[in-house]
Symmetry: C2
Subunit: 162 residues, 2 copies
DNA sequence: CGTTCCTGTTTCGTAAACGGAACGATCGGG
DNA sequence: CCCGATCGTTCCGTTTACGAAACAGGAACG
């Protein structure tokens, strides 16, 4: 974790960033849905751009303790599109349904471990380690972990220039 | 505004993004401090990267109705640093004190209109239209609008590679 | 062993972000 | 003209993110 790599304690960061220790603790364990204000207070104190710590598709509890989380690793822009690269983590048994997004956005998923079923809600596909899935996100789509192993994957979102 | 340029109504966007109209209305008028979850729901529906709509240093009411707001225009990375460019708006009489950030972060402010007093809390400098201010943000620093005119400025944050 | 200081988690009351519904304003069509 | 549809804002009860403080677990020291 970023804070630990900096060698700063939770208590210290909470104090210098001006947020409660309860807040910081809860955020690090993914059991809260932070406000932009607290997020900025923390990133500013760490000397890191806001985008560096954004968790993407909000952690959505579906079944008891079964969640899907996405963490933004990097975002960049080239001449005709911008991209966001997430690390995806799907707990065993977890299943998440995302509503349709604006047309033109493409999702690319590469599975590192576990078995992932994902894609358009009416025609999801399955991939295991090394596999790749791609779809356009203008229809509702799902993510689900098959089997009892946690799924690790990368998720690349491509937003065309407009 | 982005939503209007798309020609989509508040009511429609609220429905398709799955958030309340009250929420969307309040956000557009800057009177709420959104949750990451709602922010993602909206940007995803608009087909836009999260970073594209981030408001930066949270709108901080100091005196009655006197606020400082910053809106992220663009963020990018080169070989040895990443940058975030904000549009800064300081209402007449507003004054904001920001705590010290991590060492290495530099703030550049260019004033377009009005008179801005900003910089390290113990030695702020003053700039009018066309003026430029620069300081390192590892000490507490202030922003204040002098005179009775609203200050418009750009704020460039430079985060060195680590 | 106690004592002290630190870690990170948990409890709890308060403040505020949330969605649903009610509202007045504006626009077209018959 | 009035009526229906849709716009964005406001009101309100519920949910939840927030900070202060209490808490349990380790490590260092006497």
């Amino acid at each position: 974790m970023l804070r630990e790599k900096r060698g700063v304690s939770l208590s210290t960061l909470a104090r210098t960033a001006g947020v409660g220790k309860a807040t910081l603790s809860a955020l690090e364990n993914g059991l809260r849905n932070p406000t932009l204000e607290t997020l900025y207070a923390i990133t500013a104190q760490l000397g890191v751009p806001l985008a560096a710590v954004l968790s993407g598709p909000a952690t959505t509890p579906t079944v008891q303790g079964a969640t899907v989380t996405a963490t933004l690793l990097e975002s960049f822009t080239d001449t005709d599109a911008s991209y966001e690269l997430y690390r995806l983590r799907v707990r065993p048994g977890a299943e998440q349904l995302s509503p349709a997004h604006q047309a033109g956005v493409t999702e690319h998923v590469t599975v590192f471990s576990g078995m992932l079923r994902a894609g358009p809600a009416d025609a999801p596909a399955t991939a295991t380690a090394g596999g790749h899935l791609r779809w356009t996100s203008d229809v509702p789509h799902v993510y689900a972990a098959l089997g009892d192993e946690e799924v690790a994957a990368s998720l690349l979102l491509r937003y065309p220039r407009r």
